[in-house]
Structures are given as C-alpha cells and as structure tokens.
C-alpha cells in the first residue's frame, strides 16, 4: 500500500521531468534546424 501511494504521488513529477527533457531536446533540435535553414526559430 505504501509503495503504491508513493508511486501514485511521485509518478507525476517523474513524468514532468521526462516531458521537460523531451521538450528541451526538441527545442535544441529546432534551433539547429532553424540555423541550418537560415531562418528564425519563431
């Protein structure tokens, strides 16, 4: 029960961290692509 509730609470910050890493990597890729194509990021 204790483990289950620990998982239930902590899975959300873990997911948040995963999305944060994904977005940061994607933005770096966007930036690289924009430079290669000589256009602005936004």
């Amino acid at each position: 029960m204790t483990t289950l509730y620990a998982f239930y609470v902590l899975i959300w910050p873990a997911l948040t961290l995963g999305v944060l890493v994904l977005i940061c990597r994607a933005v770096l890729r966007d930036r690289r692509d924009a430079r290669r194509e000589s256009r602005e990021l936004v």
């Binding site: 204790t2 483990t3 620990a6 239930y8 609470v9 948040t16 999305v19 990021l41 936004v42």
Partner: protein
C-alpha cells in the same frame, strides 16, 4: 499539525522577484525583436514553429494559475481521485481538439484564427459569433490571471492586491507588445522550463518533508469513505463530469489553442498536442497531490480559503527558498497564459474584426499591427481594472460557457459537412443560447413536460459530445454508434433526474439544441459547399500586400485573400 501559517516576504524581496522575472522575460524577447515586425508573424509566427517550442508553448498556455489551486482544492475536497478528476480532463481538452485541429489546418493552412476559417466557410455573422466567444474567454482569462497575481502578492508580502495586479499586467504587456505571438511562444518555453523544473522539485520535497508515503497512508484514516475511494462517484459527478462536458467547448472556444494550431509546423501537430497533453496532466495532477497530502494531514486552509493550501504546505514544510520558487512557479504560469491571451485577442481584432470586416479585402499590414498593439494595451487595461475592483463576472462566465457549448457542433460540422449553411450556424447558436438561459435561470418551471423536453435536449447534447469525441479519433461510423448509444443511455438515466442538476442540464441543452437546429436546417438546404475554396480565401496578409509586379509568385494568393 492542522494549521500552517504562510511565510511572509518583505516588500523588497517580492518586488525583486517580480522585476527579475519580468525583466528577464523582457530581455529574452529582445533576441527575437525586429524593427519592422510583419502582421502575419505577429499573429502566428511563420506557420513553421518546431515541435519543441510548439509543445512548450501549448503546455505553458494551457496551465494557468488556477490550474494549481483548483487541482489542489480538488485533491483536498475529493481525496485520492480528486487531482485526477481535475488534471486529466483539462489535459484531454488539448488531446481531443487535435483531430479536429488537423482538419482546420488542412482546410486553411495559412489561417491565423479559427474565425477566418469560419468566415471563409460562412461569412461574417458566424465568424463574429465565434470571435465574440473567443474575446470574452480571453478577457475573463486575463482577469483571472491578474487576480491570481494580486492574491499571491498580497498573501505572501505586505504589498497590496492592486500592486500585484498592476505589476503583473504591465510586466506581461511589456514583453508581449512589440513582437506579439512570437514573443509569447518564445517566452512560453523559458517559463515552462522554469515551472516544470520547480514542480519536479517541489512535489517530492513537500511529500518527503511531511513524512513520505508512510505518513500519507497513515493519514488515509482521516478521509471519508468517498475520499478514500479511487472510483468515488462524488468526485466523478461533481468534479469529473462537468469538466468532461466542457472538454471540446474549452478548446474550440479558445483562440490561444487554435493560434498555436495554425503556427506549428503541420508535420508536428500530432506530437505537439500529445506532448502538451502529457505535460499539462503531469504538472497539474502532481501539484494537485499537495491538496491530497494536506487532507491526509488534516490541514485546515488558512481563513477557509482553499487557494492557500499549496502556499501553506510549502511554507509549513520547506525553507523560504522554496516559497520563492513557488512564487516564480505561479507568476510564470499566469504570465504565460496572460501573454497568450493578449496575443489571441490581438489576432482576433487584427484578422477577424479589422481584416475581414472593416478593411474588407484591403487590409494594410501596418495598420493591422497598430490594431494588434492597441488591442493589447486596451485588453491589459480592462484586465487590470476588472481584477483590481474584483468585479463580479459570474454572469459573463455563465454566458461564455453557454456560448462555447452552443458553437461546438456548428463549428465542427461546418468543417466536415458541406450542407451546413450560415443561417443554420447562426440560428442554431442563438436558439441554443435562449434554451440555455431558460434552463440555467429557470425562466420556465422545470417540471412536467417542460422538464422532459429539456432532458430530451440534454440527452441529445450528451450524445453529441460522445459522438464528436469518438468521431475525431475513430471516424464517422464509430462516432455515430457511440453517440446514439450515449444518447439512449442518457434518455433512460437522465429522465426525471437531470432536472435537479441545473448547471449540467443547461450546458447539455446548449449542445443538444444547437446540434438539432443546425442539423435540421442544414438538411433542409440544397446548398453544397466546396471545401477547397477555404484555402484559397484565407491567406497571409503581408504577402498579399506585396504588389503583383514585385512578387508575381504570390499574385494568385493575394487575389484570393482579398
């Protein structure tokens, strides 16, 4: 421990935090600023925003200050399942609009607002109804976010509520005014990184500081049977169901979403929406867990105000630096939504009002920019005044909710069904608003045949919500079957029951009435619309303004746009 007090910052600390936040954000926008911004980029950038920036912007925009407070309140009120019933449905609002969004983008790849698409499909009256609902929604959102800033500043420092409202309003306007949407999406990324990083730290920090999982499990004895039940009917009916009804309406009625839909690179729409769904859900449900923690510990919200729950928990269990981080978290979330609302409002006034209805084919991009910037200044002033005087916006909220519900079917049907007419769109929305008011304000006694008729309309409304959701992902046949089954189930279970739940009855009635009227009027029409013409009628303003001899390659589009 059942009463935690709030940490108090000095005036100078809060001012320093706010000036550092808004100053840093402003400096960030200097990197993308152009001396001569163009009107299209001011509204939707270059229609080629990448997956990373797009997903970050979508997530940051959808998370507003109320997301944290309401999720924590839901956790505190409904127990174990409470945060899920707030965050999950809010997240699904992003996901469920995605299949329809792809259709919008396919029909009008160069649009700036959903209203432009509807203008090309139907004309001014339908477009202006949609634009009005978008404007009201964004003004309310601005006011709520500025109010949240004022409330946060006043509870954590000696500064007044009005001071917090004004600093937030001016700060957001300052960094959004010049570059518009481009500034909004650029700063959204930075704001999202900050608020995600803070959420990742704060949630486990509070959890372990309060005693960790063993303390949480021990505290479950403090919960009622309903609160301890993950499948609590109380939580489903009072928190989950009303949100579920609003899933499509919020996304359709919100220009901030469609603006990003038209701005993101078309190939990246799917991953952008899915990532934003997961990101929003994870952050908001996670912070909602702090409400559940407070409930298990038996914490009483200070002054009975549920909005104090998260600040109380952070103040009570963590050192002051975490309170400062929480402060930045809230300011970041409300600012990212407020700058998106300003960008949305400016795009509506630039494209829907000036471009399509005032300039009527002779829009001057420079004048459009002026309209956009003036809109931002006026909207900020209105938001600050409404928030500062704590004006009662309940009637406006009710009205906007009804309008959003009423337009869902006509907007979606107009993009898939070639028989929907302008008259069917406009009439269905107006009649739906009237029936909504009859049910919501009980202009007629809800008993006997009247109540039965409204429960019938509401059942159609419930059926159409399910039908549209299933249709979006699984196609027409599956949507039809699911909708009919849902409607029949509602007819059986809602009869003689739904009349006691006025708000739900009225909302579903708006959906049902607009669907019924729109379908009947469309079937009576012999008109058939050619969807290919939408793409030709909606184009970029700056390219269209280039004389044909200067840029012959854009001549066709320019002619079509005007």
């Amino acid at each position: 421990m059942n009463s935690l007090s709030l940490h108090q910052f000095s005036t100078s600390t809060v001012l320093l935090l706010m000036f550092a936040f808004y100053g840093g954000t402003y400096l960030l926008t200097l990197g993308i600023r152009k001396k001569k911004e163009d009107a299209d980029a001011y509204m939707v950038s270059n229609h080629r925003i990448g997956f990373g920036i797009g997903a970050a912007s979508m997530t940051a925009t959808w998370i507003w200050a109320a997301s944290f407070y309401a999720a924590a309140t839901s956790g505190y009120t409904y127990g174990v399942s409470g945060p899920i019933h707030y965050g999950l449905w809010g997240a699904l609002m992003i996901l469920f609009i995605y299949p329809f969004g792809r259709r919008f983008r396919k029909l009008a790849p160069n649009a700036h607002t959903l209203g432009e698409l509807i203008h090309a499909r139907h004309g001014s009256s339908s477009q202006l109804i949609l634009a009005l609902s978008n404007v009201l929604g964004s003004v309310i959102s601005l006011m709520v976010n500025f109010t949240a800033a004022g409330a946060l500043v006043s509870v954590l420092s000696p500064l007044s509520f009005q001071a917090g409202v004004i600093i937030a309003g001016v700060g957001v306007l300052l960094y959004t005014l010049w570059s518009g949407f481009r500034a909004s999406v650029m700063t959204d990324f930075a704001q999202l990184v900050a608020l995600m990083a803070i959420a990742v730290v704060i949630i486990p920090a509070v959890f372990f500081a309060m005693g960790g999982p063993s303390e949480l499990v021990a505290g479950l004895d403090n919960l009622t049977a309903e609160q301890a039940d993950f499948f609590s009917m109380d939580a489903i009916l009072n928190q989950g169901a009303p949100f579920f009804v609003a899933v499509l309406a919020y996304a359709i009625g919100n220009q901030t979403i469609s603006q990003r839909l038209f701005a993101v690179n078309e190939e990246h729409i799917k991953p952008t929406f899915i990532t934003a769904t997961i990101g929003y859900g994870a952050i908001v449900i996670g912070l909602g867990m702090i409400g559940l923690m407070a409930l298990t510990l038996g914490i009483q919200p200070l002054d009975g105000d549920m909005n104090n729950l998260i600040p109380q928990m952070v103040s009570g269990y963590l050192p002051p630096v975490f309170i400062a981080l929480f402060f930045v978290l809230v300011i970041g979330s409300l600012s990212s939504t407020a700058d998106s609302d300003l960008s949305a409002l400016s795009a509506i006034m630039m494209a829907d009002v000036y471009g399509k209805n005032i300039a009527r084919g002779k829009a001057d991009p420079k004048r459009m920019l002026l309209v956009g910037r003036l809109t931002m200044i006026i909207a900020t002033a209105v938001g600050i005044v409404f928030a500062s005087f704590s004006l009662d916006i309940l009637v406006m909220l009710v009205f906007v909710g009804a309008l959003w519900g009423a337009i869902v079917f006509p907007v979606i049907a107009s993009c898939f069904w070639n028989r929907v007419t302008n008259a069917a769109f406009t009439t269905s929305v107006l009649i739906a608003m009237i029936t909504f008011c009859v049910a919501r304000f009980e202009w007629l006694p809800m008993s006997g045949l009247t109540a039965l008729a409204f429960e019938g309309l509401a059942s159609i409304g419930g059926g159409i919500i399910i039908a549209l959701m299933v249709f979006g992902f699984l196609g027409r046949a599956a949507g039809l079957i699911a909708g009919v089954l849902a409607m029949l189930a509602l007819l059986v279970f809602a009869t003689d029951f739904l009349r006691d739940y006025t708000v739900l009855l009225a909302s579903l009635t708006a959906y049902g009435t607009s669907t019924l009227v729109c379908v009947v009027m469309s079937l009576m029409s012999s008109q058939r619309f050619d969807f290919d013409t939408i793409g030709q009628r909606v184009g970029d303003y700056d390219q269209a303004a280039i004389p044909a001899d200067e840029d012959a390659s854009h001549g066709d589009l320019a002619g079509a746009t005007r």
